[in-house]
């Protein structure tokens, strides 16, 4: 058990298995310094070497971290926020994850509790996201998570500068990191690589955003611990840790005015045997109706989503076993006027200002639509060797992804049409086994891992990509060294991959097989000039073999009205990312996180239009072939925060990216336009009565026109630049023993008409108009 001995603080969140006694006091004045002393609860000796991370409570853009010295002291100064999020991990002690309200006292003591499960828990957690300091990455703040997750997982991630959306209308979006998406971005869903049909731009990640407690993005190549092919980066979606000694339940509600969206998510975590057997069950349901653009409704844009998950954890001595199972189902209406059968219709649709089909508001989902389900099972075993320096982890996982796409166009034959079968139907099943060994000694962490996977894809309906199976095997080693002001990391990885495809050409069954093998490496460092000023530099490589669609797709992409032809002769892409960054935390009133990077991708696989168009019975279709280019992407993105006073700050976000073919010097298409947003934030410094904390903000987002395009490469010119205005307010209210978190925001306040370059439906419709959203998080008990 931990106890807070000094007054002037309130504990809100607790990492699962901790019980907390909270002490409440409304402070009259506020200190800008805070010394936190860590003591062992048993013998009251100071705890040295505990790792700590501080998140500022309200905007989360500032973080600080370090390790306690022999006196167990965490010294914080220049605190402008009224509350700070503190996360402390120490070997043999239970992890502390709590919110501290800054009061008039400048010193507090935290007593940390020993626990038989603690050492393992600390290792597991630390290994997942907190320890990779050398590669540039950003984590979403709690507020960003809570205020945007009802929109979807990609939309939530887009809060991070450098992360943009590849959208297909208002309801389908996938994240793009520094201009790279699809198979070049790896999503780790609770530590498991998400394996769906991620090759399609209109295939959104099949993950319930409400499951995530933490979301983080690692940018660029070099995440060799997780993948060899993460050329764009790695996205971490982490649920809360299991609560072995406490019971918690919370209700999340989300609503949106524009499309009548409503989301309900319930989560309960508890234990069956204290300290030994714990579980968490969670479920989400979400419905939304027709999306409204400023002048009309986008017909058939409703959606439904039903998700659930169960986690079980069992700890016995040094052993820990964790099961995680989740199910995701979505049915997504596709904007009717976007589904095009032929090129004449396509140009007609593009030429008209207003879609040919509009409708009234409703929740009906009719053709065209997608129905996708994804299930994931994971079993992880962790073992800590007696000296606690060695740690072994083995994970077995299985995923099934079933995607059905229903065209607008019913079969011509009425009998076949009556069956209402999907026109495209893919099933992909993936099984993986991963094992890691970590060894920690005197500031070093050495890790060694193997990772294997088998994947099988089958289809029915219309041919687009063939049946295929993939075998993957990899081995990696990584060393991380942290001491005083330095954090250094180096790693090496080699992988083998085989892809066997099966398809008919005429009456002949073809069975091509491909093998690839290559090496990826990473070298990075971080230097803390002062606790509030860090510099980092990283170089990493990644390679990605061509995917089945790039090799073998052949056919008409309905809806897109293009013919896409794979290229069986493609080689692997090989990327090298050089990045450097600076991190300031309230340094002369400035906070900043800025990352500049160069991503050089050899044999970059790109789908480009080729002439002549393919003549078919339905007219001539634009034809796209896969080619390879030597791409060079340069990006700079980041956040700058200026603290005007304790309560007021100004924030600027910017993402700028340039991508060219190194040989032809031509621009590469489908990259994001320059994006800037600035906001003014007001934070209530002192709690007032029931209002524990509050904030309001006003932000302006400006997206420049995408002018870096090669002529005649697109159906229509890039849309104009646009500016949207957003306002938001958040509050933490105390009702009895519970704290309710409320968040109200208005997106596109002025109901501006705009179209975004990376939204495929920009050809057909304006983007979503004004949307008033309300999000609420209510702990039912804790």
């Amino acid at each position: 058990m931990i106890r807070f001995f000094q007054w002037g603080l309130v504990c809100k969140y607790v990492a699962g298995f901790l019980l907390v006694l909270t002490s409440i006091c409304h402070a009259e004045s506020k200190s800008d310094k805070l010394d936190i002393y860590l003591y062992d609860e048993d013998n009251h000796k100071p705890i040295a070497g505990a790792k700590w991370y501080i998140n500022l409570g309200n905007n989360g853009t500032s973080q600080d971290s370090g390790k306690t010295e022999a006196d167990g002291l965490i010294h914080l100064h220049d605190i402008t926020q009224s509350k700070i999020q503190v996360y402390i991990v120490a070997k043999h002690f239970n992890t502390i994850d709590t919110l501290i309200l800054i009061g008039d006292k400048s010193t507090i003591q935290i007593l940390m509790l020993h626990g038989n499960d603690a050492a393992i828990e600390v290792e597991v957690h630390a290994d997942q996201t907190k320890d990779i300091d050398a590669q540039p990455g950003q984590q979403l703040s709690n507020l960003e998570l809570i205020s945007t997750r009802s929109l979807g997982i990609a939309q939530t991630l887009a809060n991070i500068p450098g992360v943009t959306l590849i959208a297909t209308g208002s309801t389908i979006a996938k994240p793009q990191i520094d201009g790279l998406q699809g198979n070049r971005v790896i999503i780790l869903n609770n530590g498991i690589r998400q394996e769906g049909q991620q090759w399609g731009n209109e295939h959104a990640p099949e993950i319930d955003p409400y499951i995530a407690k933490h979301m983080k993005v690692l940018r660029g190549a070099g995440a060799i611990r997780y993948a060899h092919d993460a050329i764009g980066g790695v996205i971490f979606v982490e649920p809360d840790t299991l609560a072995f000694r406490s019971r918690q339940a919370e209700l999340n509600l989300g609503g949106g005015s524009n499309n009548g969206m409503g989301a309900v998510s319930l989560q309960q975590s508890s234990y069956i045997m204290p300290g030994r057997l714990a579980y968490r069950v969670q479920g989400t349901t979400k419905r939304s109706g027709t999306v409204h653009s400023p002048d009309y409704y986008q017909k058939n844009t409703g959606s439904a989503e039903y998700n659930g998950s169960l986690a079980l954890g069992y700890v016995e001595g040094r052993h820990k076993l964790e099961f995680f199972g989740s199910y995701f189902y979505t049915k997504l209406g596709i904007f009717s006027a976007s589904h095009i059968g032929n090129v004449t219709d396509l140009y007609q649709a593009i030429a008209s200002d207003r879609p040919a089909e509009t409708s009234n508001f409703n929740y009906t989902i009719s053709r065209p639509y997608q129905a996708v389900n994804h299930s994931l099972f994971k079993l992880q075993y962790d073992y800590n060797l007696p000296d606690s320096q060695w740690h072994i982890s083995v994970t077995v996982a299985h995923q099934n992804n079933h995607r059905q796409e229903y065209d607008k166009h019913l079969p011509r034959n009425n009998t076949k049409a009556a069956l209402n079968l999907p026109e495209l139907d893919y099933s992909i099943a993936s099984s993986s086994v991963d094992a890691n060994l970590d060894y920690r000694v005197r500031g070093w962490r050495h890790s060694l891992g193997i990772s294997t996977m088998y994947q099988a894809n089958t289809w029915s309906g219309r041919f687009f990509i063939p049946n295929y199976e993939t075998y993957r095997a990899g081995i990696w080693a990584n060393s991380h060294y942290a001491k005083n002001k330095w954090d250094v990391e180096a790693g090496l990885r080699t992988d083998y991959r085989q892809l066997n495809a099966y398809y008919y050409q005429g009456n002949d069954l073809l069975q091509p097989s491909n093998n690839w093998q290559n090496v990826a490496l990473q070298l990075g460092g971080k230097y803390r000039i002062t606790p509030n000023l860090h510099l980092l530099a990283n170089v990493g490589t990644a390679w990605r073999p061509p995917a089945a669609n790039e090799l073998y797709s052949n056919g008409l992409h309905h809806g897109a009205a293009t013919i896409e032809i794979g290229n069986a002769g493609l080689n692997s892409e090989y990327a090298t990312t050089y990045s450097t960054g600076i991190h300031l935390n309230n340094y002369y009133r400035f906070s900043a996180d800025v990352i500049a990077s160069i991503n050089q991708i050899n044999s970059y696989i790109n789908l480009v239009p080729t002439l002549p168009a393919t003549l078919t019975i339905r007219g001539a279709f634009p034809t796209f072939n896969y080619i390879q280019q030597n791409a060079l992407l340069r990006s700079i993105s980041g956040t700058l925060l200026y603290h005007l006073s304790e309560s007021f700050n100004l924030k600027l976000n910017a993402s700028i990216l340039r991508g060219t073919d190194r040989n032809t010097k031509l621009w590469i298409a489908q990259l994001p336009a320059d994006r800037f947003s600035s906001s003014v934030n007001y934070v209530l410094v002192h709690s007032r009565g029931r209002l524990q904390s509050a904030g309001i903000n006003l932000s302006i987002t400006h997206v420049a026109r995408m002018w870096r395009l090669t002529a005649n490469e697109d159906y229509s010119p890039a849309p104009d630049a646009y500016t949207t205005l957003n306002v938001g307010a958040n509050a933490l209210l105390k009702l009895g023993k519970r704290s309710i978190e409320l968040n109200l925001s208005v997106d596109n306040l002025t109901n501006t008409r705009y179209r975004d370059y990376l939204d495929r439906f920009r050809y057909f419709t304006d983007a979503m108009g004004r949307n008033v959203r309300l999000n609420l998080r209510l702990p039912l008990y804790n």
């Binding site: 099933s427 099988a456 289809w459 069975q511 052949n554 393919t614 003549l615 019975i617 339905r618 007219g619």
Partner: protein, 180 residues
């Protein structure tokens, strides 16, 4: 604990059942129109028959079309025109135009032609008001000219009103046409 492990193992086994990936479906099982044959018979001289065929045996994508004839007509002549649609990827070939006729209330051909040609629908569906289907038409040529005739087949289930803009396009073939 044993129950837990058993449950999990069972879950893995159940989900591990797969379709056989080494025997993929044949891609031609879906409905295709591979061939469109226009047969134009001179109403004054039954031995003067003009045939114009479009043929893409493996459908959209894959291999290119193997045949796309021009339409060569005499000036100031009346032709009785029949359209036959086939799916030649199947053996024996499916006559898709019979299906169209059977579901005539949901389909309509449209003809967009350059000057020198007048096209009159000869057939009508059973709708009220009845609208042409276009499988059978009368083409009247006037002065010699050269241009194109675009044959369009629209699928308009429940929305057939004689508007070319409605519905989905099943066929859009631009035939080069010469009238002399």
């Amino acid at each position: 604990m044993k129950v837990l492990i058993f449950t999990i193992a069972t879950a893995f086994l159940i989900t591990a059942c797969e379709k056989d990936i080494t025997t993929p479906p044949k891609p031609n099982e879906t409905e295709l129109i591979t061939t469109c044959i226009l047969t134009l018979t001179d109403s004054a001289n039954a031995s003067n028959v003009v045939k114009a065929t479009f043929r893409d045996p493996d459908g959209e994508g894959g291999n290119a079309a193997t045949q796309f004839d021009s339409i060569r007509l005499k000036a100031n002549t009346t032709y009785n025109t029949q359209i036959v649609l086939l799916d030649e990827s199947k053996s024996p070939a499916d006559t898709i135009s019979k299906e169209i006729l059977k579901e005539q209330n949901d389909h309509q051909f449209f003809f967009n032609n350059t000057t020198g040609l007048q096209i009159i629908y000869a057939d009508k569906d059973t709708n009220t008001p009845s609208l042409p289907v276009g499988l059978s038409t009368i083409w009247r040529t006037t002065s010699p000219s050269a241009g194109t005739v675009t044959v369009i087949l629209k699928h308009q289930p429940g929305t057939k009103k004689g508007n070319q803009a409605d519905g989905d396009t099943d066929i859009e073939l631009k035939y080069n046409t010469v009238i002399r």
